[in-house]
């Protein structure tokens, strides 16, 4: 055998898997040079804007666009009659009009769009459009939407989906039962980068190129092309820089309008939403009311759970049916449960449409099941940790859907590692050094002597990837040319860092350090959505498979060159080695002058839809997480300061530990926001707080230190052993914070008024009302 080198091969590659590689786009971002979709423009670009309904429900009697068209600088005004293709779109059901034609169904529904020379002229044009409405009584109460006697507000009816889960023996009763009714408010994704797009029409007017911040380029293209009446290949999408997403960019918002205006004017069109319009124009987290009754034996082992879910989906279907499936199938949380009787509804109302937000139905279920676990602990005389350990799910357990838990399920380890993390050393009420350490912060309203500390726990299970038989796949192209690797994926980079991971995978598989990423666009096959914690697994699996396909060609080249058997060759670090791990040659030498390209689709194992009784192996895989929250509460004023959040998260394998920590800390901030401050307030269907002044987001002063442990047990089902990490952090932190508040109230009063502190976000009045007397 003639090996190229006699030196020992390095076993690793710089910038490979497992390393905390920094983002390839980070330098451009800190310098303000990264182009977000709102930064894009084109020569001769006009501006577009959208007229929206002021009514939650009304019949459109007449639209007169002529006063708008008479304004100098206005180029076109479009309404429903101008939509050349399908009049409606939607992710699961195409039930949402591009423009309302006969009836408007929520405050903010698009009615018309204008194109003009500048944004001010657009606004004057919108004000000049005359729309005559016949106001109709809105359907705003989700319980009324279930009532068959209620008038349907949409041709498809008021119930988007009704799903039962019946498992085991429904007649079983536990020696101990606890029940509660839980309310979850409507949360906004509140990504910083507002919706923005640039559409450029083809010179011949037969197609359009759309630069847009989205989560799924190919699905957008399918829906846009359908509404434009164009073949898909005539609609090309390019990912504009995305300023966060969190589910809020999974549905279309400005895409069809922007393309239509571009095609009608023959000019590039820019559309930018402002913050108020953004609140109206994307879907939100479903507000939910959940009733649960847990049955347990005297030792605290769960024997049955009964539950009823009502999710308010708002005016259009969006992903409500999938959110409902997630909610009802996660009723049990990360605990064994042999018997279940669950009923769930996702309904249509004239409130804001709801759909995907990080956690997708599981956030709502988790607040209920974790509150229940604490109630059960109290009823059984156990502490909150013991009740959870006693019921903790394990790999091989059967779920309430009849599905077997095949994922690695380190629930007990997540709980134990969370509990073992150090508690904060800050004294109760702070050390007096700064008012930020007190509940209420710089308002200086809390009296340190009234502050009580509480500790609470939450544990969650979250499904990963798409469910119910969806053909879920991701595509990746790997090209090696003269030693440089180019990865081409349509994976929407929304901030999560897939661009970093993709390059790490390529380096580790191929042993080549120079990796660049092609522009993210529809020039390669679909990657599926950047949602459901799926891209590390799915697009990661696709990138790995594409790189492996290229690698086998590289090894073939090396084998021919050195007259070796390809079978025995592999890559160690940057070196091709033989079966005895002796160096053959450097990978970059083997590929010199070569061009190798492979495109591969990766699919996860198939799933099935739930049957009428909610049975079926509907989910792909699961991840787990535990949270502990420590809070200081001024129980008299109802003010809460989160002092610390501790967490241990099942990540499978941390491909980039720094990136995982970023997901954990960011998710915890969103869960803390839902626990304490974030809620879209609607009155008669109208949003009352569509601004960052009135919709409160956690600031740097609201965020406590996060202490995190990564539980790494590589999952053999995952292509790289790595589970998705995006959603679990935001799920069980919310019930943990609320449990900690309940603990503080109990510490102060020795008890808690029943039925209080069962809704999020917790308002000061809720804390005050939790006092058991007075």
């Amino acid at each position: 055998m003639s090996a190229g080198h006699s030196t020992t091969a390095p076993s690793t590659i710089r910038g490979g898997l497992g390393e905390s590689v920094t983002r390839p786009d980070a330098t451009a971002k800190v310098r303000g040079e990264f182009a977000f979709s709102s930064d894009l423009t084109a020569d001769g670009a006009l501006w577009g804007a959208t007229l929206r309904s002021p009514h939650p429900r009304a019949r459109i009697r007449r639209i007169d666009t002529s006063p708008a068209l008479a304004i100098a600088g206005v180029r076109v005004v479009l309404t429903a009659e101008d939509v050349p293709g399908a009049p409606t779109y939607g992710l699961i059901d195409a039930d949402q009009p591009v423009f309302a034609s006969d009836e408007v169904r929520f405050v903010g529904e698009p009615v018309a769009a204008v194109a003009a020379s500048d944004p001010d002229t657009c606004q004057r044009a919108l004000e000049a459009i005359v729309v005559e409405y016949e106001v109709l009584p809105p359907l705003l109460d989700p319980e009324r939407a279930i009532d068959p006697s209620s008038e349907p507000i949409h041709p498809s009816g008021n119930i988007v989906r009704h799903q039962r889960v019946l498992h085991g023996d429904p007649t079983v009763e536990g020696a101990v039962t606890v029940e509660g009714t839980y309310d979850i408010g409507m949360q906004d994704q509140a990504f910083l980068g507002l919706e923005a797009a640039l559409a450029i029409p083809d010179p011949d007017g037969a197609g359009v190129e759309l630069h847009v911040a989205t989560q799924w380029l190919h699905e957008d293209r399918t829906q846009i092309a359908s509404c434009l009446g164009l073949p898909e290949e005539s609609v090309r999408l390019v990912l504009g820089g995305v300023g966060g997403a969190f589910g809020g960019r999974e549905d279309l918002s400005l895409q069809v309008h922007t393309c239509l205006l571009a095609l009608r004017t023959g000019r590039p069109i820019r559309v930018h939403y402002d913050r108020r319009e953004s609140f109206l124009a994307h879907v939100h987290r479903h507000p939910a009311r959940i009733w649960m009754r847990h049955h347990a034996d005297p030792e605290g082992n769960i024997v049955k759970i009964e539950a009823r879910f009502v999710l308010d989906g708002g005016a259009y279907a969006s992903t409500s049916s999938a959110v409902l499936v997630n909610a009802v199938t996660h009723t049990q949380g990360p605990y064994r449960c042999p018997n279940a009787v669950v009923d769930g509804y996702a309904v249509r109302t004239n409130n804001l449409p709801c759909g995907a937000m990080r956690g997708f139905g599981v956030v709502q279920a988790c607040f209920a099941h974790e509150s229940q676990m604490d109630r059960l602990a109290t009823a059984c005389g156990l502490d909150p940790i013991e009740i959870r350990l006693r019921n903790a799910m394990r790999t091989g357990d059967s779920l309430i859907t009849g599905q077997t838990m095949t994922s690695v399920a380190p629930v007990e380890r997540c709980i134990r590692e969370t509990v073992a993390l150090p508690l904060p050393e800050v004294p109760i009420g702070g050390d007096g050094s700064h008012p930020y350490m007190l509940p209420g912060g710089a308002g200086l309203t809390a009296d340190p002597s009234h502050v009580v500390r509480g500790i609470g726990y939450g544990v969650a299970m979250k499904n990963l990837m798409y469910s119910e038989g969806f053909d879920d796949f991701a595509t990746a192209r790997c090209r090696v040319e003269d030693g440089e690797v180019t990865i081409h994926v349509a994976t929407a980079e929304v901030g999560q860092g897939f661009v970093t991971i993709a390059a790490q995978i390529a380096r580790s598989v191929l042993g080549l350090e120079e990796v660049r990423l092609h522009r993210i666009d529809t020039g390669v096959g679909s990657a599926g959505s950047t949602s459901a914690s799926r891209q590390t697994w799915m697009s990661g699996g696709a990138v790995e498979a594409a790189c492996r396909a290229v690698l086998s060609e590289i090894l073939g080249i090396a084998a021919r060159r050195f007259d070796l058997d390809t079978e025995g060759l592999s890559v160690l670090g940057t070196t091709i080695v033989d079966a005895e791990f002796r160096p053959v040659c450097e990978v970059r030498e083997a590929v010199a002058g070569e061009v190798i390209e492979q495109t591969v689709e990766y699919r996860h194992h198939p799933t099935v839809p739930l049957d009428a009784d909610g049975q079926g192996a509907c989910h792909t895989a699961f991840a787990f997480v535990a949270h502990r929250a420590v809070v200081d509460v001024d129980v008299d004023l109802g003010l809460v300061k989160v002092i610390q959040v501790a967490t241990a998260q099942d990540v499978g394998r941390a491909l980039n530990p720094l990136s995982v920590i970023g997901q954990i800390e960011g998710g915890i901030a969103q869960g803390l926001g839902l626990a304490l401050m974030e809620e879209i307030i609607q009155v008669d269907g109208e949003v009352k707080n569509a601004s960052f002044t009135d919709y409160l987001l956690p600031t740097i002063a609201d965020m406590p230190p996060v202490v995190a442990r990564l539980v790494e047990e590589p999952d053999p089902q995952a292509p790289l052993g790595a589970k998705g990490v995006g959603e679990p952090p935001c799920i069980s932190v919310t019930p943990a914070v609320v449990a900690a508040i309940r603990d503080a109230v109990r510490t102060r009063y020795g008890g808690l008024r029943d039925g209080t502190l069962d809704r999020v976000p917790v308002r000061p009045i809720d804390v005050v009302a939790a006092a058991p007397h007075g």
Binding site: S20, T22, R23, D25, A26, T27, K29, V30, R31, G32, E33, A35, F36, S38, D39, A72, D118, D120, R124, Q189, A190, F191, L192, G193, L194, V242, G243, G244, A245, F246, R275, S433, H434, Y436, M437, A442, V494, G495, Q496, G497, L658, I661, G662, I664, E665, G666, G667, I668, A669, Q670, S691, F692, T693, L697, P698, T699, I700, A701, M703, V706
Partner: protein, 160 residues
């Protein structure tokens, strides 16, 4: 409002005199910087001074450019994130944000760069609560701020 209300003026941006023509009356400094001057590093996300994405230094003072009319900024020194290139404090902040993993979507990042530069010019080794106080006007939706606090700690002179 008619187009004749539009006006012309000269701004001092990053040390350069910039002629602004045909600005809409009441146009914010943010809009003029982005759309007329072509400096898109300054971002808009709330239009009412809540998020800090549009942070600039106006006569050396940290300011939300969405709250300032461009026409009232005549004769004042406007420094944007682009104008801080080469500033030693800014470069430390930028490197630390990258190294600490404080950048995800990055939309809020230029605003944090300007605000953290302003802080570290005033205080070389701020405490965590001082960092929180100084950056409480900048919203980030991705990171939960932990890495940002760490980055400012890395960038502060006392730690490097």
């Amino acid at each position: 409002m008619t187009p004749t209300d539009h006006r012309d003026f000269t701004l001092s941006v990053n040390g350069n005199r910039v002629q602004v023509t045909h600005a809409a009356p009441g146009a914010s400094l943010l809009d003029v910087l982005r759309e007329q001057v072509g400096l898109t590093g300054t971002k808009g996300a709330c239009e009412e001074g809540e998020c800090g994405s549009c942070s600039v230094l106006l006569d050396g003072e940290l300011t939300c450019s969405c709250l300032v009319m461009a026409a009232t900024s005549v004769g004042r020194s406007i420094i944007t994130v682009e104008g801080l290139e080469g500033d030693p404090v800014t470069e430390r902040v930028q490197a630390a944000l990258v190294d600490a993993g404080a950048v995800q979507c990055g939309f809020c990042t230029p605003g944090f760069v300007v605000a953290a530069t302003d802080l570290l010019r005033r205080e070389q080794s701020p405490s965590t609560t001082t960092v929180q106080e100084a950056l409480a006007g900048n919203l980030c939706r991705c990171t939960g701020y932990g890495r940002i606090v760490e980055a400012v700690r890395l960038a502060s002179r006392g730690e490097r």
